[in-house]
């Protein structure tokens, strides 16, 4: 049985105990899966795992609080589940976590770059994996891309491809490809002058349409309908769409996620303007790792560092006496 078939069987077995199992199905485009909500055994036949199952199903879990729900998770999604649990946003006994070894997922933006104008990624009619290649059917014939060129960056630095804390784990565990996240992307960016960095963000944020897909796709964004960006009373942010107003919101999002962001990348993937907002969050995750030796969704035994208070922080020097 393939991993996908094994997962389908596990989902069907889980169903009597849960109101639904959240996973993935084929989406409206060959390269993009969609979330699947399995309520009956027949629904499970539509379940698809694998390279195109990018969405993080953990984002839906808080909606199901108060009843029991199942969720199929990749390694990164499991970190979101772990962080939601650590913060008490969901209850352990109310979620059944189904894990499997994840080999990485696609980054559709990279496909657009790799196509180099040969066609619009939306014109792709079918896609299949062949060894380490992705074979795309396009109006102008078949195009082969190396999967390494179009796999999400987060997968290249993933330390936990096997869902942590799963109730059921299907398949054999995988060795992670790397032994540490070196934050090379953040280091390279921070090597630029402050002016250059500000220019970069002003340029990028000028595309923001303020749809807040970045916020709503984030499993850890908890304010939901009470976000500062929309509240009229008090009015924290203006509704005008200046670059700085938009940047202001991103900085708020990033700081509210400091020490809570698991690096799942959903904010960036959701952005229709393709703004690399994950970079801001990773810059803060790197600081939190340095200062508090805390990785969200992994080191979840204690409360997250910025949601707790310690009289003395070993790595923060507050006074000289």
């Amino acid at each position: 049985m393939s991993i996908q078939e094994e997962l389908q069987a596990v989902i069907k077995e889980a169903l009597p105990d849960v109101s639904c199992v959240i996973g993935w199905r084929e989406g409206p485009e060959p390269l993009r899966a969609a979330p699947l909500f399995v309520r009956t055994p027949a629904d499970a036949d539509a379940f698809r795992s694998g390279y195109f199952a990018v969405n993080n199903p953990a984002v839906f879990l808080p909606e199901y609080k108060g009843g029991k729900v199942g969720v199929v998770v990749k390694g990164c999604d499991a970190r979101s589940v772990g962080q939601l649990l650590a913060e008490g946003l969901i209850r352990r006994e109310e979620v059944k976590v189904i894990g499997f070894p994840c080999n990485g997922v696609i980054d559709v933006d990279k496909v657009a770059v790799a196509l180099a104008g040969a066609c619009d990624p939306g014109e792709i009619q079918a896609a299949r994996e062949e060894g380490d290649e992705l074979v795309l059917t396009t109006p102008s014939g078949e195009i082969r891309l190396r999967k390494t060129a179009v796999t999400a960056d987060k997968c290249g630095r993933c330390l936990f491809p096997n869902a942590l804390d799963a109730d059921v784990f299907v398949g054999d565990t995988l060795e992670p490809a790397v032994s540490a996240d070196d934050y090379a992307d953040v280091a390279a960016f921070e090597a630029l002058s402050l002016e250059k960095r500000m220019d970069f963000w002003e340029q990028e944020m000028s595309r923001c349409v303020r749809c807040y897909a970045c916020r709503n796709a984030c499993p850890m964004c908890v304010c939901r309908e009470h976000c500062v960006a929309l509240s009229r009373d008090p009015r924290w942010l203006t509704q005008s769409d200046g670059v700085r107003d938009k940047m202001f919101f991103q900085i708020i999002h990033a700081s509210h996620l400091a020490g809570r962001c698991t690096g799942c990348g959903e904010c960036q993937r959701a952005c229709p303007a393709r703004i690399p907002v994950l970079l801001l969050k990773r810059a803060l995750s790197r600081r939190v790792e340095d200062l508090f030796a805390y990785r969200a969704g992994v080191d979840v035994a204690g409360p997250p560092p910025l949601l707790s208070f310690a009289l003395e922080e070993p790595k923060i020097k507050e006074r000289d006496w």
């Binding site: 409206p28 969405n55 595309r207 303020r210 709503n216 005008s240 769409d241």
Partner: protein, 360 residues
């Protein structure tokens, strides 16, 4: 294919395109599809750049006529030392919008403005309350659409009365031919833009090639289902909570779908003031937001995402067509499907509604 009468036709060889766009940009803002970062958006033409035609824009061109954020007027409270008990209010109007051309919009972009037009022209008020801000820009803007050759997997313009080479709502239609572009004006405004020495007269052969290209593009679209029953089917499901919960399960309640949509026209008004002075802003709103129908009392008639998604689909495929001669306020551009982080597919929801209604 263009159903409209062609009032004039010209040909431009690709080499002359930048010079013609530069000429159009004299005294006007010319918007073209432009690659920015890893996406394509409608941006003012920059001399030296060529429009990006290898990918279709993620957003619609609606922001040209309906800015994301628009100062309607500014205000300032003024005190008078002679009359300390009274306060004056100084109002200043915003500047008149200038002339604009959108070159290389898609057919669906042009048809999107069809959904705006009656609403902003005061349809619900027998023409009394006209939206001067929109109408002025509509008048000042010319649209040159470029015929599509192949559909994206999310395209369904032909389900909604459009087509890949439709010139409805546009002033001119551009079609790629060997070595250049055929330009066919369908309005006077379009014809005026084609009065340029950079363009050469077009031939009957070129027009025939364009017609063949349009026919091929239409043929490349998959067959389309009939949506005739959609308005009634959706109304019939208005109180069917289970249906809407299932359809909206994956929705994240963000604004990506409505903000990229060429036909979503809802807005918000806020006074953005700092001390005694400020601006009354009109900004895009989205029915997918919880705040959209939040009433002052705190009551919200659309409490969950199921009710909100029902409104988005219902408005486009039922409530709007019921008062606008059956025309959907969706032009089938598929942008909401393409850019939805959860791949929510409005086509599928309408088809599910038709099926659900047929089953009961």
């Amino acid at each position: 294919m263009s159903e409209q009468k062609i009032v004039s036709r010209k040909f431009i060889s690709l080499g002359y395109l930048p010079a013609w766009l530069e000429e159009l940009a004299l005294g006007r803002t010319v918007y073209v599809p432009r690659q920015e970062g890893r996406t394509v958006l409608y941006r003012p033409f920059v001399p030296g750049d060529l429009p990006e035609f290898s990918r279709r824009p993620a957003e619609s061109a609606k922001h040209v006529l309906f800015p994301r954020s628009e100062g309607l007027f500014s205000f300032c409270r003024k005190g008078d030392p002679g009359a300390p008990d009274t306060r004056g209010l100084l109002l200043s109007e915003s500047a008149e919008p200038g002339q604009a051309v959108i070159f290389g919009a898609l057919s669906c972009d042009a048809r999107g403005f069809f959904a705006f037009d009656p609403v902003y022209d005061g349809c619900g008020t027998k023409g009394i309350a006209k939206d001067v801000y929109y109408l002025k820009r509509r008048e000042n803007t010319a649209l040159i659409v470029k015929a599509c050759k192949t559909p994206l997997s999310t395209c369904f313009c032909h389900w909604t009365g459009g087509g890949p080479a439709s010139a409805q709502g546009a002033d001119a239609l551009a079609t790629d031919l060997d070595g250049g572009i055929l330009l066919q004006a369908v309005t006077k405004k379009g014809a005026a833009l084609l009065e340029s020495a950079k363009l050469s007269p077009a031939t009957d052969d070129q027009e025939a090639s364009a017609r063949a290209a349009h026919e091929a593009a239409v043929k490349a679209m998959p067959s389309s289902p009939s949506l005739d029953g959609a308005p009634e089917a959706l109304l019939g499901l208005f109180d069917n909570k289970a249906f809407w919960h299932a359809q909206s399960a994956g929705c994240l309640s963000c604004g990506a779908c409505t903000y990229l949509c060429p036909t979503c026209y809802c807005f918000n008004l806020t006074d953005e003031s700092n001390g005694i002075a400020g601006t009354r802003l009109r900004t895009w709103d989205t029915c997918m937001s919880a705040l959209f129908t939040m009433e002052a009392s705190g009551h919200n008639p659309r409490r969950d995402k199921a009710a909100r998604l029902k409104n988005r689909v219902g408005h486009k495929f039922s409530y709007y067509p019921r008062i606008h001669d059956g025309r959907f306020s969706c032009c089938g551009c598929g942008r909401c499907i393409r850019s939805c982080p959860s791949s929510v597919d409005i086509r599928q929801i309408v088809l599910n509604a038709l099926k659900e209604n047929a089953d009961v």
